[in-house]
Amino acid sequence: MTLIESYLNEIVRQLPKKQRADVRAELRAALADALESKVDGEASEADVVALLREFGHPEAVASSYRPQNQYLVGPELFPAFRSVAAVVITVLVGLVTFGFLVDLLVDGPAEGRAWLWVLRYLGGVWDTALSAFAIIVLIFALLQRFDAGTAAEEPWDPRELPAARDRDLVGRGEAVVGIVIPVVFLGLLNIFKDHFGVRVEPGAVMLLNDVFQASLPWLNLALLLGVALNTWLLRTGRWNWPTRLFNFGIDVYWIVLLFSIAAGVVARKATLIGAGVPEPVAGIIVTIVAFVPWLVMLAVLWGVASFLYRSHAGDGGSAGDTAIRKAG
């Protein structure tokens, strides 16, 4: 009988407390009845084992008792989750790799310490990827809890679906990505705020970290504005002029912020060299950092120009339409 009791324990411990006694009593009677009808007289251990095997794995039985569709991240959100996780983690691993390569350039190849460097690098990649993954799961779990699945249950009318090439339509996935990515960066920038910068040798002062820390509140504000905008867009589902202007405002704010960070770094070039960073390396760092705001500005200008062009063209024709027109 103890086998049956262990089996019942295993099932009911996975169920809500208030169901346990009832389910246990019912299954206990059922198993005893089944055993009686299969075996004459005293049941052997082998009989009980065969009966329980036939009844099913405790995990499977318990899960039949639980309500369906208990998800941390359900099937509706999973594709978005997968792409966000892939993009964010790839970008972050790229950034960490870049940081470590800069370190390597600054330090020079430390003799006999290559394995230590590799370990530190792998540790850094692991920490970053894991933190990012945890934050992404958390955000998606919250979205799942409060938002997902509700849309599919509401009554709907095919005629009310937005026109396929409607340029005001907010892509749901796009908005979700627009929320998740800034939140991930908010987490990482603030958790690892002491790790951004250049260190000439282990234990030395982290150069440029003061520039980063001084701009951190402004970076946080920029990211929060992005989260706010995308949360709003996710709710309303459409772009309009106020949200477009707000979005453009955020872009401009980013450009100004990045230029000011770049200026801070450029002004530290002499300090870097003074602290022992080889001059060509300092030159490379400063050039790359100074290049970023220009790149962002170009991207923003490109976005604005293509939006204005499409608005001017009138119908916001998509690439597909253009291709069809050309073919025809």
């Binding site: 389910v23 009593a25 059922a30 099913g56 039985v61 008792y65």
Partner: protein, 125 residues
């Protein structure tokens, strides 16, 4: 009886067959609960009639149907051990009638569909 499928698709075929059987289990259970029965007596009844029943799925199903109000349940402490008895409730009887109609239509349509396809006929093997 069965035409054995190629081994590599067998797991997928088994899963589909399991889903078919599971889909009919609720209707089968409701059909036999016009009289009050406990879980194992229902299992015996269905098995004797030739329906393969996964017990680990049946008991949770009974509980769900009870919570949905299609069954009434009652503990009976007479006899060798306490057992939970289930009977069709009033709305359960209505549900049974409606589901039985759905099933008969479905069975007729499926039979016709399968007749169209030589592979689906009874005497295929």
């Amino acid at each position: 009886m069965y035409m054995q499928s190629k081994p590599e698709i067998q797991p997928a075929v088994d899963k589909l067959a399991l889903e078919l059987r599971r889909g009919t289990l609720a209707l089968a259970a409701l059909s036999q609960l016009g009289t009050s029965r406990h879980g194992y007596s229902l299992v015996r009844e269905l098995t004797e009639r030739g329906l393969e029943v996964e017990q680990g799925t049946l008991y949770p199903l009974l509980r769900r149907l009870d919570e949905q109000g299609l069954l009434d349940s009652q503990w009976n402490v007479e006899g060798s051990r306490p057992r939970k008895y289930y009977t069709l409730s009033k709305s359960g009887a209505a549900a049974l009638a409606s589901l039985a109609m759905t099933w008969r239509e479905l069975a007729r349509t499926m039979a016709e569909l399968l007749d169209d396809n030589p592979g689906g006929q009874d005497d295929a093997d």
